[in-house]
Symmetry: D3
Subunit: 334 residues, 6 copies
């Protein structure tokens, strides 16, 4: 079985239990996460063979991060170490009309030490069938951008599928490159686009709206600009408040537009990593199912992720499939 490759920063997440604020707490729950490793772990939980590439701190925190990932059977043999500390993010979980708040400590983290020569792409891609990247990695540091690009070039050469989730987060991007240029550069090597109107507008410098018509138009434009992109998937979240969302998805694959119906998530446990669960569902799905079934699988996976604490989607293929089969009443598995 060939591997799926994810590449990106691993962060320690720290948050008070439940909906407490830091000011109220003296205990914090901690997890490890990061958009790409979240995707990797979720695919591993679907039974996929995954290798994650990253750079973590050379201390007991880095050891703990590696051990956390091994727990899920994701290969950590391509993770390198740095003397800088692991990135951290602090999270206060909101409720009802109170939004969650996040504060990052990642600007000079171990991942910022990543350099192209630290990753043996040649060997890694020999055993790979898919590589997934997001817009966070090239936003963090030049080394992240360059290392990723090197991998994508090689992947394209070898015909390996490349999924892109070019999330644009303006608070990052401090090392001097232009986001639009960098993301466009990397999209040249990508085959699956996971993202919506905002990401397309960012890259194409357009201003499409959120309607299905606009989505189709925008997707077509995107594929014109990047002819290597074969499919565009977009997850749509409707927020009633912090605790209650609805999720659906839509797609344009060059031939047809499809959309799923809503999943009604009446009591959210944790929304971090739900987008990553969608991406992971797609990557897993597209290897087994047709495009629409893959999108449905991804949406159900995304919906399920809202019920797990932490960044990671624990859902198995059977659990996702059960939902697609209509078993959403939550009857016991005895």
């Amino acid at each position: 079985m060939k591997q799926i490759i994810t590449f990106g920063e691993i962060l320690m997440r720290l948050s008070p239990e439940g909906n407490k604020k830091f000011m109220q707490a003296n205990l914090l729950e901690f997890y490890f996460g990061g958009t790409e490793i979240n995707v990797g772990i979720s695919i591993a939980n679907f039974g996929g063979k995954v290798k994650h590439i990253s750079c973590v701190s050379n201390d007991f925190i880095g050891d703990t991060a590696i051990s956390y990932i091994q727990k899920f059977g994701v290969s950590t043999s391509a993770i390198v170490r740095s003397n800088k500390p692991l990135g951290v993010y602090f999270l206060e979980v909101g409720a009802v009309m109170r939004p969650s708040s996040i504060s990052y400590n990642r600007s000079h983290s171990s991942f910022s030490d990543i350099q192209p020569n630290m990753v043996d792409w040649e060997n890694i891609l020999k055993k790979a069938k898919w590589i997934h990247w997001t817009g966070i990695t090239p936003a963090l540091c030049k080394g992240g951008y360059e290392t990723l690009k090197q991998g994508l070039i090689l992947a394209k050469k070898q015909g390996i599928a490349v999924s892109a989730d070019p999330t644009y987060r303006s608070g990052l991007w401090k090392y001097g490159e232009n986001p639009k240029d960098v993301l466009s550069d990397l999209l040249n090597y990508s085959t699956i686009f996971i993202g919506g109107i905002n990401e397309i507008n960012e890259v194409l410098e357009t201003s499409y709206g959120y309607s299905n018509e606009d989505f189709i138009e925008a997707s077509k434009k995107l594929m014109e600009r990047f002819p290597n992109i074969e499919k565009v998937f977009d997850k749509i979240r409707t927020s009633i408040n912090s605790s209650w969302h609805k999720i659906r998805a839509r797609m344009w694959n060059g031939k047809e537009f499809r959309e799923t119906s809503d999943f009604d998530i009446t009591h959210i446990i944790d929304r971090i990593g739900t987008g990553d669960a969608f991406a992971a569902g797609l990557i897993y799905g597209l290897q087994q199912f047709d495009d629409y079934k893959s999108m449905e699988f991804a949406s159900a996976a995304c919906a399920l992720k809202h019920t797990y604490e932490g960044d990671v989607n624990y859902a198995t293929v059977d659990e996702v499939t059960a939902i697609l089969d209509g078993n959403i009443s939550g009857r016991f598995n005895r």
Copy 2:
């Protein structure tokens, strides 16, 4: 005040806090439960005098189980000990579209050592006015079946009320007897039937549907077959998802059909033991109220149980009655 007798296995329940999976946890909450002891404790919380019969392990876990039950004032003097370990079940609590998962470790538990000669039915029933049994006990082991049967025969002879909750769980029943035969045998000694279409179909080998008409028809058929059964009560659960249910109940007492309106349980805390709370509400209610009032009381008790963690219904008669009086807005008790 004469006693109400419950008889059945006591299990240790282990589950991670909140909605965590075992894989995420390193702390587990533990409770003791089991369908019959749940009924017993709930009746004791209504002020009833209850004695529970069981067989627990002869170690500090068995001691803890006994002490847990004494806490509620349920008599433990008829509990015997075995060198086998207490049964355990592991629970992962779901949310929204994620179902809860259960795994049992009870096949060779202390309860499997129960034998008719360990229970002094003669003396116990002398001070008893009611005995409650469920379909779990005769499913677990031959000793459970035989011991129970001995008690029911004597109870019938003495005119003691016998309520039956003949839940059929196919995963049990490994010792060679036919479920239908065994349950029918025991129903011959029972006066109150707590169960719905599925249980009736199982026993009568019929295939009634879920409509009220079918329910009435099925109940009549059941009473024909078991003329000792005087009343049939059925609790109906509508699941929106794992976190949000509605509960109502219906009955046929040979003369009239009645049903309650829905209780809307918008934020479930713990659904384990809610059926047992319904049974307990009935057993308590039928000693004070008419059939319909008893069923309403039982439904409100069942609804309230969804708000307590653990297997046990902590609701008092006053608390249940307040709900029947329309106080469901959750105003403070100061």
Copy 3:
């Protein structure tokens, strides 16, 4: 910046985690609260300068209470000490149709030692611009009543704003005075009335209903009787059940009647102190905004408080304002 003065008992609050009952718990969460200090802390969190006056125990519990309040930057220099223990209240948090239950241990608490000579009103009011009182303080003990009255007389003399939340709790009032007389006496010195039909009926010995018409009528009557009262604000809570409320507010300021729309609080975290958050929002708001905007601000503050554990409203002005600007979808603050 001149100070806002709050005066009242500080209580230790003890409750099992989540929705557990004391009988199920062996760990309790503790907070400090009390209606007036809740108001004070909330105003401090809005950036106001607040001094709280109270009498706490002369032991490590009193030390902890003082330290808890200092955490929020509220001045504790006017808090005196007594050899009696700090008041305590025990709370079991309900859910869905289960109401919360409270039990108080405050009858002979440190606050019952408060005497007029312990508070240097002269000096305190020199630097003050507002004083807030509630109906709890004069209900607790004669010393509370007399000390408060002394402060209000002086405040009126100096033209300091006086907000009154004359909550009537019949379980208190054990020291011999008549609630109606005492509350009326104190209302003579007050300029803002925070309370609804029940409080007005109690004081005026009337029997108005809950309609807007009645509210306007009652408010006019109140202002006739207490011409110093300039504005009446009323917060209205609609309870679907213990876990789901709606909140809105209405006002009569002698000239116009206004009411807000509903805030839908679908998943309550903690409703204790939400009324205090409303009062604090008003006190803060009326110093910056017009009456209606102040009431809206107060309602949003009240709604937000339902999302914080404990008695205290942690919301900042920016957080409240964001809600008034329509950001109730709970999107992340990154």
Copy 4:
């Protein structure tokens, strides 16, 4: 089997986990205790049949206290209820040279409502063989003194053994009686004296020192003054620091002086209730063993109690006996 009777206040104990101060904590562990109920529960854990008499609050805290005691099989049928709150004590557990600190909230607790007419001594003592009292009860309130005295008079009349632990705590005794007079009065009905030089000096108004010679002399004097006292037992604690004590005991039974060797308690878990464990060990022991063996049993019980969290001694007879047999190396019980 006849009952052993204990009579006294039940307190809720609240303390931060481990060695935290309240100022550092937001979670508290809670237990129930009180010197007499501690003795009662310990005897029940030795297999004795115990009834405890008390007055607890008529709220969910009182319910929890009763349920806590039932857990150990101690009869709660003679516990009455009051509208006053249950007494509470707060504990900060020290370590090494830091002493533990305690603060009480019991002056107006439910127990202060106890009155002679609330206890049916006639019936209770009919089934009793032993009654144990301590100097705390008559110190708390006049009702405590009078109720106790009534019981002791009747006990003496019926020849029931009466053990006295006349601890003198000067911080109590606020209702006007003289401690020396009251304790002397009650000692007139007692047969076993559990206490040392301080208690004897207090009662006899003497000033004996701590040597064995003085102890013998003092004991003789005590027996002269109270000829009904047959035996005097004294537990001696040597403190290296808060975390490390040594325990031994000595006795004078009118005929011989004996003393045990030291138990070296190198890592104290919880020293609260260790004196009560000694008393319970004596009461249990004197019903089975000779005086010296009883004292040894009591000392080992006392030593073991230092290893249990909370007020209660969980040790069984087998566990205490194992220590007397020299098994103090802590080898596993598998």
Copy 5:
């Protein structure tokens, strides 16, 4: 790097936090352990490449066990699944003179399903350089004995080192074989004997004492009987009480007797798995060091294990070596 093979049952360990009894707790800490997997994980923490062979339950508990082991980088590819539940043990941790208590639930666990045909010894041993077994495995079930024996026969044939820790636990051994015969049978294939006088006496049916002279004599006798055994290592524990032990070791390698000095473990955190840490230290050591240095390394590893909660030794080679270099003062690693 060739693998080290461990083979044996994996158990879930459940114990209350700190020194609480089950009766006092409602939260349990859980770990996974078992003497052989403890050895395997410890070696992996030293940097060794380890594969563990076992049979775990086919449910989420089995999944969690596997994930727990993967965390340490131990290969789980040879672990098979069974429909029986995973074995469990309950632990109450003692202190000072209170011993710890253990209760097992393993008689019909998933491991009891192990059969020779489930383990592909041929392939596993191809990549192996060492296999470690203990007396627990053949004691549990016939399948355990037979599967192990098959592996040892093959190992001997291929000249792979075999370390034996023939712990004799009389409470096991229920399937009909004679312990002495079985252990002797398996020792015929073993090269390193890790065990002391008790184990030798059990196997040889002798009655040597604990002196060094006896140890040498016994070791010689053992090597006579099992000429394949090259070295005997014995760890000696001196217990002051449950919380304070001293550890030293001695050896006879056919040529010389050596013993280490004492490690003084003044504050034990957790003694479970300390013997396994000794075995792991030896297995690791004997691949790098001479016999005495290996024994010293093993003793220091064993001593360090007493400072980690759970069954697992987290110590790295650097951490063990630092102790051998005399750094036992616990100075900070900054």
Copy 6:
């Protein structure tokens, strides 16, 4: 009352509960600390009036740090904010022969933004009587050094006492200055030297040993080089292992050498911040007592700090004094 000024970085401390490793935990305890704020808070707990100067992050973590310090009544009005994250350190607490491990994330923390123009020394020192600095601040960043120096120059000019704890930590000092030069520069403005042989050797480039003779010689040399230094205090720690230390102190004040006897800390709870407790004890003491009494007070304070979790010394003057009066047996404070 004039203020005592402390100046330095505030760090968030994160560590698993008890002696767990990060790899074993999913909950972390958090505190705030830092050598200078530890000193400041300890002095505040002695009743001193303290202002702390620092630069914290402009997010909810910085808010929480400020609120944490306000809890102790330390003035935070001179704390400025930065967009960089607050520094963090991770701690694994060792036991017995296992050392504690620390990992820092502070290189680009908010404090590294500190600049001389952010501190209004003029105004701050007007109300000050003492300023304390340590070798950490000038080691962290040039801005720290320059800001501190500016304050010290002014302090010297105004005759304010300056205590220096010139701890040398080689892992810091990355911005290019020479530690010896910087520390010497700052010592020119200091009056009290808190540190031992290592610090003196570092600054003077000498190689004195640890004997009292060497200490006196070295102190004299130091005072020759820095004639403004009036007194040298040295705390000596003897480690039996991680869990058991002894503490004593010695001094040279230009006229006499004195040393205290040992405090035996048999069960350490937390050794972080014990040196800071010593410094705080000296600063407090030297304002009330003679030099020797001050050193004794500081030593007892240092010993007591070992019994509190977290960085902060909670001891009051009464608690420290009680120890000096010989009350180290840990008898209850009731």
